[in-house]
Symmetry: C2
Subunit: 175 residues, 2 copies
DNA sequence: TCAAAGATTCAGAAATTACTGAAATAATTG
DNA sequence: CAATTATTTCAGTAATTTCTGAATCTTTGA
């Protein structure tokens, strides 16, 4: 095993551990790391061998990654099997993950908070005053977050960086 | 059980499920939710009863939440037992969580990426060109993220909102 | 200084999540 | 259209995470 392989392996293992940061499991994160660091698409067999995991596991993890939208199938002409590759632009990758996590986690939370507000407002007398205040604050926070997310999502990473750079007086952020 | 209690319960259960969003487990998230929605501090016994969980579980979850910095012990005079409460300011809460996750997840990742760059640069000849590019992009992304985080962290939530509101032309963001 | 109340710890149990591998299914080709 | 190769599925198992509850430790106040 070459030194280069060792560096790659270290990266892949660590990325796997940090999968929780992205809300995905270890295998998914490792596959993602391996595809990300590979100059060309890899087959399911390649992934099995490199990561020492079962065929089934590879198949399931790929399905999930494709559902997230950060891995895609590639047909290579002359080849019978499928190959897989991943988004190499980190900003695009980040945007995809942000969008998915919003959809899966933030949106349902906001839904519950809104419903709670409705329910609290239907209580008789002045019941639930304190609770209403608390939920409202949370809801406000999340809704503001979504507004910021949506505005940022319309812009290109470059323009966002430029603006932030000026705004925060941080050198090297762009602009 | 009153309607108010039902609303509270729904909120607590959902918050528990979404714990992953914050990187904490279900019990921790439920305890946090219960303390957040309670007008006054609660004892370990209160938590056990309300959430139907064991004494040990409460104790461990509280220890973690206190380590995170989002729950604190409260001494109530005349009372022998300890009471617990949580930060009620959502923005402060969010900042605490962001700081902790950065420390636990982002910082170690950056460390690995930096080390990988060093290792790659020590390779003989032109080995690892492609890998270097990939790792560099990731590192860049994370370092930019940290810069943004640090600049935002110096400011008050209000001023951040004001500035973002102007920049993004979003109404109702502040300013 | 000791009994009572409260809090913590942690070994084992329960619950959840992830993984394997073989069988089923699908796709490709001569 | 069979034979071959590739992929998916999923029941069973393994690994990991979370939780319980009894034992232990700590604090209080009489």
């Amino acid at each position: 095993m070459s030194e280069l392989d060792r560096v790659k392996e270290r990266f892949i293992l660590h990325w796997g551990e940090m999968g929780s940061l992205w809300g995905i499991n270890r295998t998914m994160a490792q596959i993602h790391a391996l595809l990300y660091i590979s100059p060309r698409p890899l087959s399911a067999n390649d992934l099995m061998e490199e990561l020492q995991i079962s065929r089934g596991n590879v198949s399931m993890a790929l399905r999930e990654l494709i559902a997230w939208g950060i891995v895609s199938r590639v047909h290579i002409k002359g080849e019978r099997k499928e190959f897989y590759t991943t988004e190499k632009d980190v900003w695009k990758m980040f945007r995809i993950i942000a969008r998915e996590r919003k959809r899966r986690e933030v949106d349902p939370t906001i839904e519950i908070l809104r419903q709670s507000m409705v329910d609290l407002n239907n209580l008789p007398d002045n019941e639930g005053q304190y609770e209403r205040e608390r939920i409202e604050q949370l809801l406000n926070f999340f809704e503001t977050g979504i507004k910021i997310y949506e505005s940022l999502d319309e812009k290109t990473p470059d323009s966002v960086l430029k603006l932030l750079g000026k705004l925060l007086q941080v050198k090297g952020l762009g602009g």
